[in-house]
Symmetry: C2
Subunit: 389 residues, 2 copies
């Protein structure tokens, strides 16, 4: 057994970290070491358990409600930018810091340029945040039920972490975060619970954690959550992350960003520069700007998703589901008698894909993305057949 001292995640004592990580992994190790002594290059390969992503059916005609994608296309201004993009400029390296998009986002949020960092999707931004801010020997803390990538990054970066149980209604209790830690991460609205907490909740966590960087992951905030943006000027240890993948219908373009005080944002740029100077391509920068400039389309799309979410929530409740009040573009639902796994499998036979997590506490819940009205009607009709069967 080789040691794990360099560039390789320590084998974390997962049982101490609740099971937030376990359900993300398959149990088999990826690489089985061969006994051949001439094969020692294999000994130095990364030993990492592969992350299991959501199912992507290998067929065309199905209703995809399992990845929290937006059912509507991006702003027509994004199409216009692509259509007239001069490919000649691609011969040059892009702006290393995606500065034109960062400047546009700063203006949009009423911040200064130095308060914004743009990255290759919010996964890239969050991974860089973990690397840039969480260099303590104390554990980073976050809820046991939350975004599945947090433990993956902790493992990758050898960051100690502890998960804190949400309550029986899947609510995060701010008072649980008043304990020694090396950093705090709160998704708000949380995923996969869809529940949003208010500004007082975030303020309470920030007040209890003046000595740690507190990341508020606002991937879903545009769908009705409460943003922590008003607190940025008050708390210099607050970092807010956002994505273009959900509310801006641009999952395929890979744009995420972080907002915080200039010192914090500088650390993110330093972390980025030590990995890849140019993560953002020139097309993504221009397309991102086009999206931000079309506020009307953005608002209109959000309203449509929110209206459909109301119909979905009501429809599910009418069929005997318990559905949390969602502030995101998905709902988190449990049926009174039918098992979530069975419902998920049944829906697949109808070419409808929703997300099921075989994880303790939530293994009888479904995460259902808000699609178009037509998609949600088809889902509800299929569920009605099942329930009345």
């Amino acid at each position: 057994m080789r040691n794990f001292s360099r560039g390789r995640p320590d084998p974390l004592p997962r049982e101490k970290n609740d099971c937030a990580a376990d359900w993300l992994y398959v149990t088999a190790a990826l690489f089985v070491h061969r006994k051949d002594t001439n094969m020692s290059w294999r000994d130095n390969l990364i030993k990492i358990e592969p992350y299991v992503a959501g199912e992507q059916p290998d067929k065309k005609d199905f209703i995809k409600l399992n990845a929290n994608e937006n059912p509507y296309p991006p702003s027509p201004m994004v199409q216009a930018i692509l259509s007239r993009f001069d490919s000649g400029c691609l011969k040059k390296y892009p702006d290393a810091n995606a500065a034109p998009l960062a400047a546009k986002l700063a203006e949009y949020h009423g911040l200064e340029r130095g308060n914004v960092f743009v990255g290759n999707g919010s996964d890239d931004v969050l991974a860089l945040c973990f690397r840039a801010f969480f260099n303590s020997d104390k554990p980073v803390i976050y809820p046991d039920i939350t975004y599945s990538f947090y433990p993956v990054w902790c493992d990758m970066l050898r960051i100690p972490f502890e998960t804190i149980p949400v309550d029986k209604d899947f609510r995060i209790r701010a008072e649980d975060y008043a304990r020694p830690n090396g950093g705090v991460v709160i998704a708000n609205p949380n995923a996969p619970t869809s529940i949003s907490e208010g500004l007082d909740f975030i303020r309470k966590i920030l007040d209890a954690n003046r000595d740690s960087v507190v990341i508020v992951d606002e991937a879903y905030v545009d769908f009705g959550g409460t943003t922590a943006l008003p607190l940025l000027s008050e708390y210099e240890n607050l970092v807010i992350t956002r994505t273009f993948s959900k509310s801006r219908s641009m999952a395929g373009m890979r744009i995420g960003y972080a907002m915080g005080n200039k010192e914090i944002i500088s650390a993110l740029y330093a972390a980025k520069d030590s990995y890849n100077s140019y993560p953002m391509d020139s097309v993504a920068v221009e397309a991102g700007i086009a999206s931000v400039e079309d506020e009307d389309y953005f608002r209109e799309t959000l309203e449509k998703v929110i209206a459909t979410r109301a119909r979905l929530t009501e429809g599910l409740r009418g069929l005997g589901f318990d559905v949390a009040d969602s502030a995101a573009n998905f709902v988190f639902a449990e049926h009174g008698t039918l098992r979530a796994r069975d419902i998920c499998e049944y829906l697949k036979t109808r070419d409808i894909y929703v997300r099921y997590f075989s994880k303790p506490r939530i293994d009888n819940r479904l995460r259902i993305t808000v699609g178009t009205d037509g998609e949600i009607e088809a889902l509800l009709a299929a569920l009605k057949e099942l329930v009345n069967d």
Copy 2:
């Protein structure tokens, strides 16, 4: 002084690692710790010395020969793809593994799909290679004069490394690489020397390193270097990396890739998945495919650059420069009497930017990118004035 045990680069004993790293860094630490005891979140920020990139003048009309960009635009087929790209598909996540582009590259190189990994520029690919392959306690070895990011990734990932001096003519001696190590990285053609070594050289290094992964960084190979591709079937520990940034004129699009045996490539995918599932956007994937499909344009562009390189080399030699025979899209030149730094500063006054490295052994050399014929004529004319002054 806090310890450096987690997620933070150890302060490497740089003096033991030659000075390959030092010249990349500014000497001042990025973050000065404040004495205020209420500010301990700052203590957990990443401590990293910023990488100093090439100068990007803040003006429009200048001749940019300092970043090894291609002076010609990408294939017209790239423009066609962008112009007709349906932005509607951006609402969905891209293929997590950029599979259509990876498959196209596999076909192009006569490999199988499982032999190819596509990433967000070759910097992303190389950083993932370092993380996936270099997990030994023995040092990774590479030349003292080579691509400046290698020590940056070693620092970031806490990989021990040793640099091996190139000879007085900047040639890498294969026999120097027959020593215990945790991995080998060879840029071929090397940068900034522009010198390419042959297949026997690579074979010699591979034969001496059956127990290590050997990365051959072929960023510049298309301009006349010798590729290690024929050795892939023979050596299972060989990994070859490439980029679309130079020969394919797509630095602004961020596409790089690696080729190797399937087990090695699987480790790269695992490393990628533990960081960011979707580094490649949908537009880049399509644009990359379009470039690969236009072989005629690709060859034509390479021939133009190679022809201009011959004129540049001859012109510089005629003005008293020593110029290595280049197999890349840049030349590495030293004047008989004039100092490189002075030439570099003089050229700036003529709005011509070339690259100068204030590093021992090469601090009297210039790295000059092969531009268009017109740009190179302007450069030579300016240099003629200087030399005859």
